[in-house]
């Protein structure tokens, strides 16, 4: 065989030949043996339905639209839908979640004949408006949580205890009435609030 002389590799070539010792195999029969999952691993996200308040912070944070909120204003339901088939495992939802309901699990073996099998849905009941009886855009747990975390002074000062029981329309009407009473809005207060579209909001 021809001797190859290469200036900058001469020193390297003079190194010893690779040893041909039969090595210990590193391949494993993967699905048959369990793999190690480090605690940092980011797997399929899971929503704890007992802790979720349905605020939708995760939905806003999700860059891949794997999390969506579905509204059913007729029946007073708001669902947080998690679709791991779209998920990119970035973990933004986990960071955004105010209650720690959203967690990335260590699970990653998600092969399934039907992607729908992976979908998780957490349904929440919406509160009813005290005034008109329509459903508001807040879930019951959201309101509960809000009262839990807000200091009492703030709740009292803004009359939130009253306002949070109302739907957006009625709330606006109330505000307009108050403002009109204070003389800050001129004109017929009942004409002012825009009609908000019901249902189908997504």
């Amino acid at each position: 065989m021809e001797d190859v002389k290469i200036s900058y590799t001469e020193s390297l070539i003079s190194w010893k030949r690779p040893d041909l010792r039969v090595g210990v195999p590193v391949t494993v029969k993967y699905p048959l043996v369990p793999t190690e999952k480090p605690p940092e691993y980011r797997g399929k996200p899971h929503i704890d339905p007992n802790v979720c308040i349905g605020c939708g912070a995760c939905v806003r944070a999700c860059p891949a639209d794997a999390l969506t909120a579905e509204w059913d204003l007729e029946n007073g339901l708001k669902s947080i839908v998690s679709n791991p088939a779209r998920c990119i495992r970035c973990g933004r939802c986990e960071e955004a979640c105010p209650t720690g309901a959203m967690k990335l699990t260590l699970e990653f073996e998600l092969a399934t004949p039907n992607k729908e099998d992976l979908v998780e849905v957490v349904e929440h009941h919406l509160t009813k408006c005290k005034k008109c009886g329509d459903y508001t855009e807040f879930t019951e747990r959201q309101v509960e949580k809000a009262f839990q975390i807000l200091p009492k002074e703030i709740v009292d000062a803004n009359a939130l205890g009253e306002k949070m029981q109302l739907c957006r329309e009625c709330r606006m009407e109330e505000s307009v009435k108050i403002l009109a009473a204070q003389g800050r809005i001129i004109g017929d207060p009942l004409l002012l609030p825009p009609q908000h579209a019901k249902g189908g909001e997504k």
Binding site: G23, P25, V26
Partner: protein
């Protein structure tokens, strides 16, 4: 030339059984050895049987109407078997006649020729490039094999392949001829670094690229069989001259020789696998240049033999 043609039924049976069963097994060993060198577990030893079984069970897609495309794999396999029938198995030689060394040489080349025909019967450029490369390899390696066999025939004074190892004398030129034979058999078999015609990563399997299913199975089988034939030739030429005393002394002697031949093949194959695993592929021009140099060397050896050393 075919004045004294002899046929041994037992030899045919042994030959068929060995050539039919052994090649995939040897390939299985090679794959396992390579895997272990590469720190892998590797497939089961019988994997190549499973592969072939699967291929034989699948229909072949035909990319061309050219009938040579279909004929070529069978032609290659038939050629490999024909070559196998001219080799001695222990004391038994399936087919033997004066001048069969020439037939052996041609039949062996026919395996490659059939592959080349198959490769050129399609319009796939990969296949054509593979065919070109195979042709270059055949044209540059076969002369070396020819000269090596020629030296043996000349020294042994016979043109019968199976008789050569019984008669070949130990001399300087035969030792060199052995080296030439080893090189030629290795290169002709298409082991790395000479797997240029198939070059998976360059031309996607080259000569094999258009084949699928049963035809691919037959073709791969033919290639494996050809490797066994070349290795068996080598093992015969190494074994019988040493065991010349007992080779023809009856059934027991014959079986002993056969066993030694077999063991030699089984030992050589893992060594080849190790060599394959630690080498990169040549570019065709580099391989041809190397072959040409070796061929010129072989002519020198031939001259040495002619002088009488």
């Amino acid at each position: 030339m075919m004045k004294t043609m002899s046929i041994s039924v037992l030899g045919i049976i042994v030959g068929v059984v060995l050539v039919a069963i052994l090649p995939p097994f040897l390939d299985g060993i090679a794959r396992k050895v390579k895997a272990r060198i590469q720190y892998r577990v590797g497939p089961p030893i019988l994997q190549t049987y499973y592969d072939l079984q699967k291929l034989f069970g699948l229909p072949s897609l035909r990319p061309t109407e050219n009938k040579w495309f279909r004929v070529a794999p069978y032609l290659a396999l038939a050629s490999a078997f024909s070559a196998a029938f001219l080799l001695p198995y222990g004391k038994w030689v399936p087919v033997k006649f004066s001048g069969d060394i020439v037939v052996f040489f041609y039949v062996l080349a026919m395996v490659s020729v059939a592959i080349i025909i198959g490769a050129f019967s399609t319009q796939n450029a990969h296949s054509n490039i593979g065919g070109h490369r195979e042709m270059m390899m055949v044209l540059s390696v076969e002369p070396i094999l020819g000269v090596a066999l020629g030296i043996f025939a000349f020294k042994a004074g016979t043109l019968s392949l199976s008789a050569i190892p019984l008669k070949v004398p130990a001399s300087f030129s035969t030792v060199l001829a052995y080296l030439l034979l080893i090189y030629a058999a290795y290169a002709e078999s298409g082991f790395v670094p000479f797997d240029i015609a198939e070059a998976e990563t360059e031309i996607a399997g080259g000569v094999l690229v258009e084949y699928s299913g049963r035809l691919l199975g037959v073709l791969e089988y033919a290639i494996l069989a050809k490797r066994l034939v070349l290795l068996w030739l080598l093992s015969t030429f190494l074994t019988i001259p040493i065991l010349r005393g007992i080779a023809l002394t009856g059934v027991v002697g014959g079986i002993v020789v056969l066993a030694v031949q077999l063991i030699l093949v089984l030992v050589a194959y893992p060594l080849i696998a190790a060599l394959e695993a630690t080498n990169a592929r040549y570019r065709i021009d580099q391989a041809v240049a190397l072959n040409t140099r070796i061929f010129l060397l072989s002519l020198v050896v031939l001259a040495v033999a002619a002088v009488g050393w």
